[in-house]
Amino acid sequence: MMRKRLYNIGAILQGLGITFKFMFRRQPTVPYPSVMKQHAPRFHGLHELRRYADGKERCIGCELCSSACPANAITVIGAENAPEDRRSPGERYAARYEIDELRCIFCGLCEEACPTDAIVLTPRFEMSDYRRGSFIYSKDRLLVPPEAGVGTPPDERPNGIPADLGRVAEVKSTVDIAAGYSATNRGEVLKTHRRGLAG
């Protein structure tokens, strides 16, 4: 009885020692808006619709992304290209292209399905808003603006990492992400990612 009690006191002291030690441990907390954690190199974030070097849209309005989408988040309405004002090099283009980002599960199957590598998932993820309606992204927000460049189709990226981030560079605090992407070796990127966690 007495010995058991004494043992309990030892356990309490041991517990106090552990909490004291932990007080001086490094906290894993990342103060998020001011410091960004690095994402995995192929992080699936917000979509974008890319262009060819001549400024034409890649999307040919085939709706394969829409049928591949497991969450039914994509709506594509294609239209015939007018000969005098060609929007895409093919016969058709997407007259309407809408993604409901609240339904989207960011699986990337649309990216896989796209025959022209038009729809691509960027590492952007900060898209919170006050109204549900504003989560339905249409072409005005999805399509890369002509001045932002063309981007590199996924199959031409070194190690699958986009060399050019398109509009992503515009977002204020994604500097760290961009730095992560510039590394060519995936293993190296993952290592810095872990160090980022500890800091």
Binding site: I12, G15, T19, M23, Q27
Partner: protein, 334 residues
């Protein structure tokens, strides 16, 4: 300064002293709370409050503003008068102890306190016992089940632990030969009572945690079983008053531990060049840290074990300690 103090009537001096002390205690409470949240956070590998001001230093102000702006609810089934009065009982008793607690001494030996009562420690115990009324009446007057359970627990707990606490005081009183707080501190100029009364100190620390209803003895507000315990129904500023009372009680208990066991404002190891008030504050801060440390480490007691521990372990040990001290002083002391 002394000339002004001597010229002014006594009641003015006391009023000014009280106002200053009240401000100091309330500010200390605010930062004790921040200190606790920070320490707990660090122990749990979190950064703690860091959004309001540098290092979260303005967090107490934000908390206060929030509590003041919240709605002050009174349940339909509550006894309105007692329900509204209870937080003030808690607060009043918590603050009134500071009327006699000395924080340091001038060169001529007069203690820095609002009032110097020769039965100081008895006054402290009397006021501390009254503090139960705030909690038990508040819980009872809420007119709902959880607060009632919390207040019944608190009454039982505080009464049973107060016994052992008083007995641990008596050992010190026998050694010091006085009940006035500055007399007890002066008796510790050579040895802190921590050494001859180590058992008493351990008992005091345990009972002090129980008296202030802090983890691991926070059964009064056991969140897992009693929602919020006695203050379940309280909201806004009234909840804030209970909150202030709890922290001020923690401070009181730390001050008493410093005065009775840790040598008060006496400097350890002959480090007399540092002023006594600094030592006092440092000792109180260490005790407060220990409090928070316990909260960050230990889980809550089961209720029956709490009672068994109080009556079957603490009380006999405290009694034996008291008898041993008395015998020692009678035969070999002085």
């Amino acid at each position: 300064m002394d000339a002004v103090m001597n010229a002014a009537p006594l009641w003015v001096v006391i009023l000014v002293k009280s106002a200053v002390l009240l401000l100091v205690v309330v500010t200390t409470f605010a930062y004790a709370m921040l200190f606790e949240r920070k320490i707990l956070a660090w122990m749990q590998l979190r950064p703690g409050p860091n959004r309001v001001g540098p290092w979260g230093l303005l967090q107490p102000a934000a908390d206060a503003a929030k509590l003041i702006l919240k709605e002050d609810l009174t349940p339909k089934t509550a006894d309105p008068l007692i329900y509204r009065l209870a937080p003030f009982i808690s607060l009043l008793t918590a603050f009134s102890v500071y009327a006699i607690i000395p924080f340091g001494a001038s060169a001529d030996g007069s203690a820095w306190a609002i009032g110097n009562v020769n039965a100081g420690i008895l006054f402290v115990m009397a006021i501390a016992s009254l503090g139960i009324y705030g909690i038990s009446l508040g819980g009872w007057a809420s007119g709902s089940k959880f607060p009632l359970l919390g207040s019944v627990r608190s009454t039982a707990q505080m009464i049973s632990y107060e016994l052992s606490m008083s007995l641990s005081f008596v050992g010190v009183l026998i050694l010091a030969g006085t009940t006035s707080l500055d007399g007890i501190v002066n008796a510790q100029q050579r040895w802190w009572f921590l050494l001859p009364q180590f058992v008493g100190f351990v008992i005091y620390v345990i009972t002090a945690v129980a008296e202030t209803n802090r983890t691991p003895f926070d059964l009064v507000e056991a969140e897992t079983e009693l929602v919020g315990g006695f203050h379940t129904e309280y909201s806004g500023l009234r909840f804030g008053l209970f909150f202030i009372a709890e922290y001020v009680n923690m401070l009181t208990v730390a001050c008493i531990a410093t005065l009775l066991f840790l040598g008060g404002w006496n400097a350890p190891f002959g480090l007399g060049m540092v002023p006594g008030i600094v030592w006092f504050i440092a000792k109180v801060a260490c005790f407060m840290f220990f409090y928070i440390w316990l909260r960050g480490t230990l889980p809550r007691f089961r209720y029956d074990r709490l009672m068994a521990f109080g009556w079957k372990v603490l009380l006999p040990i405290a009694t034996l300690n008291l008898i041993a001290t008395a015998v020692w002083v009678a035969y070999w002391g002085k």
